[in-house]
Amino acid sequence: MTATYIARSSAIASRVLGGETMVMSVADSTFFTLNEVASAIWQAADGVTPLDEIVARHVCPEFDVTPEDAWTDANEFVRELSTHGILLVSDQPFAPATPEAR
């Protein structure tokens, strides 16, 4: 299976509030709130860690979900955010220097 790498776009504003993450696209002002699972993936989206490793390391042990369910949810989440340009997706690792997560 080809690895998937995800990185946060630099064209976003983001902040954690009460366990959820607010994310706004500065390009089109689309506003999202990410629940705790999605927030965990978002925080770990460093562009160099494969998505399956993020799910295995940050989602399955923390949120009591099966690997299959976690993988399905993660893919859906990644697809939705990438549609809005908020999350960048590639089959190759990204160069460093994506914004710090907060």
């Binding site: 630099s10 902040r15 509030l17 009460g18 959820e20 706004m24 500065v26 002002s29 506003f31 710090e100």
Partner: protein, 365 residues
């Protein structure tokens, strides 16, 4: 309930300053007669001081950051400050007269990821706009800047303060905004100067002209709903907060003072002496503001408009009592609905007195 509203509710629950407005300077290249600021530098914050405050705001959970002035581009470090704010992932809005924005500045604002730029335009006619700003050529320069920003696909809003001098031009300014492809907002609020000088209130548009604006569908949308008599306020309204100032938002001056809002000049602390979190959590002034519910308002709690009025606690404070009415908003509620406010009834008025002459502080309680 929208996502943004949900996050506001959450910020209120957790006591998070979700929105912060920083004036990075009071210096300005325009001299608008209605401006509430002086234009001198009494020792504004350095680049390092502002960056430290931005660090503290990010840690406190602030998401929406408005950078304003004065004219922000009079600070040579302004783009450096924007870059730093964006690195901290704030949603950044810039308020400017745009006179100094050329192609390079527009490109930089785009590259840095500024979400929105709000530009003050008072008329589509240079003789009126430049007459208000007292800067010849300012309208042409501001319009040129809007075009540069639009080329960069930055969201731009034209903000027009409605006054006697430009009342006849608000539709023309709205048409200019449409022609430029930008948003348009109109606000008839002229506030006293920060030092308490109320002479600028004479510039306010006369109240009996306001119905024209309030019945303009292109500005307010559904006129019937907007101008409808207010529903009787329920317990939820009376238990509610008058506005977000001090609850989920605050204002920081170029001298590091913290106020509940730019229109609410009660100093809650100074960030040259204290950390933001300490001021936000512990300042007695913030506690006092946060303790006020609609039912605590001396006159407004008994007013039918209490649930729908745009009452500003800062303007009320400048009139002498943060729990009292803000006259300009009583006037707006009256001219919007035709129903006198409780404040007007107590004063025995069927219509507001001319702007600047109403003395609410001396009214019987």
């Amino acid at each position: 309930m929208s996502l943004l509203h949900e996050m506001n509710e959450k910020a209120l629950t957790y006591g998070v300053p979700l929105s912060v407005h920083i004036d990075v300077t009071y210096r300005c290249n325009e001299r608008c007669g209605h401006c509430y600021l002086d234009h001198d530098d009494h020792g504004e914050m350095t680049t390092v001081e502002i960056k430290k405050i931005l660090d503290q705001l990010a840690a406190a959970g602030t998401f929406f950051l408005t950078l304003s002035g004065g004219e922000v581009f009079l600070r040579r470090d302004f783009l450096e400050l924007v870059a730093y704010a964006r690195k901290l992932l704030f949603n950044v809005k810039v308020k400017t007269n745009a006179v100094m924005i050329r192609e390079f500045e527009a490109q930089e604002l785009r590259r840095l990821g500024v979400e929105q730029v709000q530009i003050s335009i008072y008329s589509h006619r240079a003789e009126v706009h430049d007459g208000i700003t007292r800067l010849p050529g300012s309208l042409a320069k501001s319009i040129r800047a809007i075009r540069f920003l639009k080329e960069q696909r930055i969201k731009v809003t034209i903000a027009n303060v409605l006054m006697k001098d430009n009342f006849e031009d608000y539709k023309g300014t709205q048409a200019l905004a449409a022609e430029l492809g930008v948003h348009y907002t109109l606000d008839p609020t002229v506030t006293p100067k920060m030092d308490g000088d109320r002479s600028v209130l004479g510039l306010r548009v006369l109240g009996d002209s306001l119905p024209t604006v309030f019945h303009d569908e292109s500005l307010v949308g559904d006129v019937a709903a907007y101008c409808a008599p207010p529903p009787a306020p329920g317990e939820d309204i009376l238990d509610g907060y008058p506005c977000s100032a001090g609850h989920t938002s605050c204002y920081i001056t170029p001298y590091a003072e913290v106020f509940p809002c730019v229109q609410f000049p009660i100093v809650c602390g100074n960030l040259r002496e204290e950390k933001f979190e300490d001021v936000w959590r512990n300042a007695p002034q913030f506690h006092e503001v946060r303790g006020i519910r609609a039912r605590d308002l001396t006159t407004c709690s008994g007013c039918g408009h209490v649930g729908t009025c745009s009452r500003c606690p800062g303007l009320a404070y400048m009139e002498g009592d943060m729990r009292g009415p803000s006259t300009a908003d009583c006037e707006k509620s009256f001219y919007r609905t035709g129903i006198p406010s409780e404040n007007m009834r107590r004063l025995g008025l069927s219509a507001p007195l001319p702007a600047g002459l109403v003395q609410i502080a001396s009214a019987p309680a």
